[in-house]
Symmetry: C2
Subunit: 216 residues, 2 copies
């Protein structure tokens, strides 16, 4: 039995929803409304001390951090594989994942925007410029990583969906909401377009959010 602590707008939770869907795993959702700070209430912090979404409960195990959850799912439910077989190819996929998950996403989160406002008296426009800066910076590097490498195929790595696409799509959905013109990153745009033809990505999208909820 799998239970995902989730919220439609959490980009890291979106990654896990895609992976669960690709692996055809059924799961329950427990919803924590980021807008009301439900993820920082004692009830959730007792589950995940970081107070961040997502967390996945698998039997008696509570797993946090989307990458750690994806690696766990990959070992436990290997079909279909979301990593290539060869170690060096896996390294490329994991590097692309981290180029999103470590080098873009942490700089664009709600908590960072909130801190910019409280500590530096930034207004909404300044916070938006901050987020756009790191999105353009990071996506430019990813575009080069993808466009310059013959290992890029229909998807980030050859013609199979991998962890790299699972990181990229939610980041692009967020970026578009923040006014980034994705066509300026043509390889990224093409790959994300192809991913969004796939039902597991569509079903995980925030716009498709209809949780079977056990609201917390």
């Amino acid at each position: 039995m799998l239970t995902l602590h989730d919220f439609y707008r959490s980009s890291a939770s979106f990654r896990v929803r895609i992976a669960l869907n690709l692996k055809r795993l059924r799961y329950e959702q427990i919803v924590h409304d980021l807008d009301t700070g439900a993820h920082q209430q004692p009830r959730y912090v007792a589950i995940n001390p970081q107070g961040l979404l997502p967390a996945l409960v698998a039997g008696r195990q509570v797993l946090s951090q989307s990458l750690a959850i994806l690696e766990f799912l990959e070992i436990t439910y290997p079909d279909p594989p979301l990593l290539p077989a060869k170690p060096a190819e896996q390294a490329r996929v994991r590097a692309l994942f981290q180029a999103v998950a470590a080098d873009i996403h942490p700089l664009t989160t709600m908590r960072v925007g909130h801190y910019l406002k409280t500590a530096f008296s930034c207004d909404d426009a300044a916070v938006l410029r901050w987020k756009q800066h790191w999105l353009v910076d990071g996506l430019s590097a990813i575009e080069t990583m993808l466009a310059a490498d013959p290992a890029t195929g229909q998807f980030c790595h050859r013609d199979r969906v991998s962890f790299a696409d699972i990181a990229l799509v939610p980041q692009i959905v967020s970026a578009q909401k923040l006014g980034i013109v994705i066509d300026e990153f043509p390889t990224v745009a093409r790959i994300v377009g192809d991913c969004m033809q796939l039902q597991p990505f569509r079903d995980a999208h925030p716009d498709a959010w209809t949780p079977h909820l056990n609201s917390n």
Copy 2:
């Protein structure tokens, strides 16, 4: 043959140096001085389009992102293991790694400090407060993750060094340079103290920096 694109003060490179030392792997270093922007020169960006350190060259493969490099080393050179055997325990170790590498480190990098100065006219004191905020925030969560879990042992996960310790030690070395009092995080402080008794950690420390260099 392994070649590490490296700089003493790069926290992510420090992680990879620890792993290479723990696995008793010999490697050459190519040094890129972060202070002069050598990592953003065309010669290095042609190797790693992100222009970030580290990169590891293994034969004809160029690997970037410290986590991807660690996972590659773990598969390719499994002895000694730096991940536990059980999937759920691996997930805990990877989550601790990401709690540093995704939730603290990206907010405290040189490039972020630089952007705060240019875009928001922050002075050095404001940049320091920013970094200290995210260090205290992130280390508080990690302290709770470690202190509350019986799986914590001499090291982050039981009594063997793992990816989690490899992320934690360089972050603590940086934090101390930024004025964070580590004794406020007693479990973290104890584990880091024990790690620093081990020669592979000592040899990787910035203070031990004596590269066998092919300066770039």
